[in-house]
């Protein structure tokens, strides 16, 4: 009757492969039972550390892995056949898996014993997370190539991890989370089936290897029901669509990271309580319990978490699993009318949306048309509107805001992790050494073989593993495929988003101010919303763009992954009165001052630059000193007030 504890992980990695290896070893010594590797943005988007777009991002939100040498350092002293390694990697998933396999073979390991996961879900990258590279067609091909490879060679590996997690982070309701994750899984499986690399009689195994990565928000009863609904709907898909007979292969296997979107900058100590409650959603019900859990840290809205912060979250898992009686019991909710009714309603609504998307041609078509993205943008705008209006309580944000100062954040700059900016230089230097010392001829021929294979229907895993062994770098592997496949920009979803026009005296006053400024300066105030760098988390930028239009700005928003030079060129050509930058990766000190400097050079000194992001106070001070007009952080959730300030700023500078 007793259940085994889930796999406990911490999403970790930063600075360098060696530093991350030390971190993994210390996490494992504290009772962590699996690895969850966070890669930096250049690695996730297929650039080497010395690419212009990598500036400021190397080693920041994860570990840089540029080649086999980095993979060696990352896993040094860790027995690969005993690890369960989860890699949060998508557009370049095939490449990182190739490096991992190449390392195992180099060590003489039997690769069929490797266990772990590559996230390898491109759909949610287009919708929410932003680390896509190639157009949908070739991206899906890379996923199905990985599936075919692991099914044959690494049968215990999860070749794709369908993520509803990031959909919730982008504002998805539980129904949307269910529906869009299911259509994503269907899209991948249909494509794998159509490609036909796996013999039909073994296709049930492919279905059985599909795992999910879900989110759990603060409404934990509904969230628990969502997971029960998920399991039932997945069973339905496996049975009805793919004819899977073995119940074991139809099991809904999922890992989880609980919600970060709802974590607050105000009274941040409360976040650990939110995190624990959210964990209940994925653990209480035995029938829908997570197989692996990683928790965010209490201070994520302030900056990058330190090892201690992550340990605190790990301890929460250990206490729930080992101190409480939770695991001694069978499912607590079987037969509960409340739970069953909620579950049924979620299933009905989600399935209706699944059918709608399938009618539109499936997940990929609904991404390309912007349908899904727009639905998410609208949901997120509605959520923010409820919080701003006080219709949804967030303690410490819109209710019970008076508080004794927290000793945990008495010294804010010490309460977060900082990555040494020298890391980037060191990584670039190491990369140059690597390139100098490898066999250039072998690299060239491995890349030529990759390029040739990419132009055919061949499975690209073999060519990628050969590249890994030859010493090819991440940027070279992805660059070669970029040449063949091209690059993609996903719809931003903001253009057509239908959002309730906010009402109220305050916002009407902002609108009147804006109209009067428009008359004074002769043109409607125009604002550029820009996302510099590789960070693809565009939710903040999207919501600012929508709100700015709602108060009457003409808004130029060109999506993610822009260089400072591109942003300044747009500001100049578009003749904007204001530039707003959103940076959530912690690279604001590298990217923002460069935008300001280039604005000056382009003769746009009078155009104010404002910045929003997860920006510690000391950094905000430095940004203001560099010429930034305003710095906003997650605690500035009252968008009406913020918009009023922006209108004033335009009036001041242009007037």
């Amino acid at each position: 009757m007793a259940d085994r504890p889930w796999i406990m992980r911490t999403y970790a990695g930063h600075s360098t492969a060696a530093a991350s290896n030390a971190l993994y070893r210390s996490n494992l010594s504290r009772g962590q039972t699996g690895l969850s590797v966070a890669f930096d943005l250049p690695t996730q988007t297929g650039y080497d550390a010395d690419h212009p777009l990598s500036r400021g991002e190397v080693g920041k939100v994860g570990v840089p892995v540029s080649h086999l040498g980095d993979m060696r350092s990352l896993m040094e002293g860790l027995p690969l056949t005993e690890m369960n390694t989860s890699m949060t990697i998508n557009a370049t998933a095939m490449w990182l898996l190739a490096l991992y396999v190449a390392l195992a073979e180099e060590r003489g390991d039997d690769i069929s014993l490797l266990r772990g996961t590559v996230q390898n879900d491109i759909v949610k990258e287009y919708l929410s997370r932003g680390t896509y590279v190639f157009p949908p067609g070739p991206s899906i091909r890379l996923i199905t190539d990985v599936i075919a490879f692991t099914t044959e060679k690494v049968p215990k590996w999860n070749p794709t991890n369908v993520c509803s997690y990031h959909l919730q982070e982008a504002g998805a309701t539980p129904v949307q989370e269910l529906a869009y994750a299911l259509v994503t899984a269907i899209g991948v499986l249909d494509a794998a089936q159509a490609r036909g690399d796996v013999p039909a009689e073994r296709f049930a195994e492919v279905v059985g290897r599909i795992s999910f990565f879900v989110n759990a928000g603060i409404r934990f009863v509904e969230e628990m029901c969502k997971l029960r609904a998920f399991a039932l709907l997945w069973d339905k898909v496996c049975t009805e669509r793919y004819g899977v007979e073995d119940p074991k292969l139809r099991r809904f296997r999922y890992g989880v990271q609980v919600n970060s979107l709802g974590l607050t900058e105000q009274q941040p100590e409360n976040n650990i309580i939110r995190i624990v409650l959210e964990m209940l959603a994925v653990t209480l019900s035995k029938d829908a319990r997570a197989r692996a859990i990683q928790l965010p840290a209490w201070n994520e809205a302030l900056g990058l978490p330190r090892p201690w912060d992550q340990q605190w979250s790990l301890r929460a898992q250990q206490i729930l699993a080992f101190e409480t009686d939770l695991l001694e019991n069978a499912d607590l909710f079987t037969g509960s009318e409340v739970v069953e009714a909620k579950t049924q309603r979620l299933m009905d609504d989600a399935w209706a949306e699944v059918e709608r998307v399938l009618e539109k041609g499936g997940a990929v078509a609904a991404v390309e048309s912007g349908y899904v993205k727009q639905a998410l943008v609208e949901s997120n705008a509605a959520r923010l509107g409820r919080i701003e209006a006080g219709a949804q309580t967030v303690v410490g944000v819109n209710r019970y805001t008076e508080a004794v100062p927290s000793p945990l954040v008495a010294d804010l700059d010490e309460a977060i992790m900082r990555v040494d900016p020298e890391v980037e230089k060191a990584q670039v230097a190491a990369l140059e050494r690597w390139r100098a010392e490898r066999d250039a001829g072998a690299v060239e021929s491995a890349l030529a073989a990759l390029k040739e294979a990419a132009g055919t229907e061949a499975n690209l895993m073999a060519a990628s593993i050969a590249c890994a062994k030859a010493g090819v770098t991440t940027g070279e592997w992805a660059g070669t495929l970029r040449e063949v496949f091209g690059e993609y920009r996903a719809p931003t979803g903001v253009g057509g988003a239908q959002v309730a026009r906010s009402a109220g005296e305050k916002i009407d006053e902002v609108r009147r101010r804006l109209e009067s400024v428009a008359e004074t300066i002769g043109r409607r105030p125009k604002m550029l919303v820009g996302k510099p760098g590789l960070d693809g988390h565009s939710n903040g930028a999207e919501q600012i763009a929508l709100k700015a239009r709602d108060v009457g700005f003409d808004v130029v928003y060109e999506g993610i992954r822009l260089t400072p030079a591109q942003i300044v060129a747009s500001a100049l050509e578009e003749g904007v009165h204001l530039v707003g930058l959103s940076v959530l990766s912690g690279s604001h000190l590298e990217l923002v001052p460069e935008v300001v400097r280039r604005m000056d050079e382009a003769g746009l000194k009078d155009v104010p630059v404002v910045v929003g992001g997860i920006i510690p106070d000391a950094d905000a001070e430095r940004l203001r000193a560099a010429g930034v007009a305003r710095v906003y952080t997650p605690k500035d959730f009252a968008l009406d007030t913020l918009m009023g300030e922006l209108v004033d700023l335009v009036a001041e500078r242009a007037g």
Binding site: G486, L546, A548, D550, D554, V556, Y557, S570, G575
Partner: protein, 346 residues
């Protein structure tokens, strides 16, 4: 020259030289709706007129929403750029009816090198104007035409009333999707202007492209009676995969060549429409009636367009109109000079 006139001459010089900062400032100026700006705008456009009329090929892209006009415009610009042509883009997006604000530029600038001086994109909001263009679009096209070899004007694609693009473009490209029967219905019914060229976009596979093109051709053949003609060139494109772009660029160029002789007339008609629109915006139907009706104004504008730009002519018409208003009513004894628009040109 006065300092103000010097400044305008300098700005015009910068635009003609294709300097981005000058082009940006000139566009900011022509978007300025303050009455005080009108004279300067007229002066600037006058300075630029010769250059604007001389060379640039103005291509209008129109078509229903969702057919990928922005992506196609960007792909077209890249292809032109790779042939060494300098490209200016005016991308028009709708304003929100509720707030007056707008969201612009989504994907328009896709993948351009920010250091490249040979490409320039300005997004404009319709600001409540009907017709798929914005108030400042003709002036912006004029400015970009003085600075670049090709000007692409992308309309909002709000539907069937996209007629204004004809007034700013030498070549109108209608962008449709495979299997888009509605568009043909609109064309047949005369709701949508007859384009000079058709692009079937999103023809992502060769098979799809061929089928879509032959479907359209067959359908067009049935509309010959409606004056459409089966000769309308059709190009299958896939902006995302880069198919058909060279053929499209060639098609646009050969249309431009084929109408070269008629071009001055076509452009003048566009400027006349622009003048009338400006005047109507200021004085409404009463203004038009007071100056003897639409045809009279068009005749006047057409005559003066040799040397001056529409905003300046509009200002002259305004003066004439206001002078009329000050005249004593018929039957009074005053004997002031009765100036008609035509007379004022003398």
């Amino acid at each position: 020259m006065s300092p103000a006139a010097n400044a305008v001459a300098d700005l015009a010089e910068g635009v003609r030289a294709g300097r981005k900062a000058a082009v940006a400032r000139a566009l900011n100026l022509v978007e300025d709706r303050r009455p005080a700006a009108r004279e300067t705008i007229g002066a600037l456009l006058g300075e630029l007129r010769e250059a604007a009329m001389a060379g640039a090929h103005r291509v209008g892209l129109t078509g229903p929403p969702g057919v990928g006009k922005s992506t196609l415009a960007a792909a077209l610009a890249r292809t032109l750029r790779s042939r060494g042509r300098r490209v200016g883009v005016v991308a028009v997006d709708p304003s929100s009816v509720r707030s007056g604000g707008s969201l612009l530029g989504d994907r328009a600038r896709m993948g351009f090198d920010p250091e490249d001086d040979g490409v320039f994109v300005r997004s404009l909001a319709t600001g409540g104007e009907a017709g798929g263009l914005s108030w400042a679009a003709p002036a912006a096209t004029h400015v970009l035409g003085a600075a670049y070899d090709v000007v692409l004007v992308e309309t909002t694609g709000v539907g069937q009333t996209e007629t204004d693009v004809r007034h700013v473009a030498d070549t109108v490209l209608l962008v449709v999707q495979p299997g888009s029967g509605d568009v043909l219905q609109f064309l047949k019914a005369g709701i949508m202007e007859i384009p000079d060229l058709l692009a079937v976009n999103k023809a992502d596979t060769g098979v799809l492209a061929e089928r879509a093109t032959s479907d359209l051709r067959a359908a067009l053949a049935t509309t010959q009676a409606a004056g459409l003609g089966a000769a309308l060139p059709i190009v299958a494109t896939s902006a995302t995969e880069g198919r058909g772009l060279d053929a499209l660029v060639d098609g646009l160029a050969s249309h431009r060549e084929s109408v070269a002789a008629a071009l001055p007339d076509r452009r003048r008609a566009g400027e006349v429409a622009w003048t009338l629109r400006l005047f109507r915006g200021l004085h409404g139907q009463h203004g038009v009636d007071t100056l003897g009706g639409r045809t009279a104004i068009e005749t006047t504008a057409s005559a003066r367009l040799r040397s001056e730009a529409p905003p300046t002519i509009c200002a002259q018409l305004s003066e004439a109109y206001l002078a009329r208003l000050r005249e004593p009513r018929p039957g009074s004894s005053s004997n002031e000079d009765r100036e008609t628009p035509q007379e004022k040109t003398r």
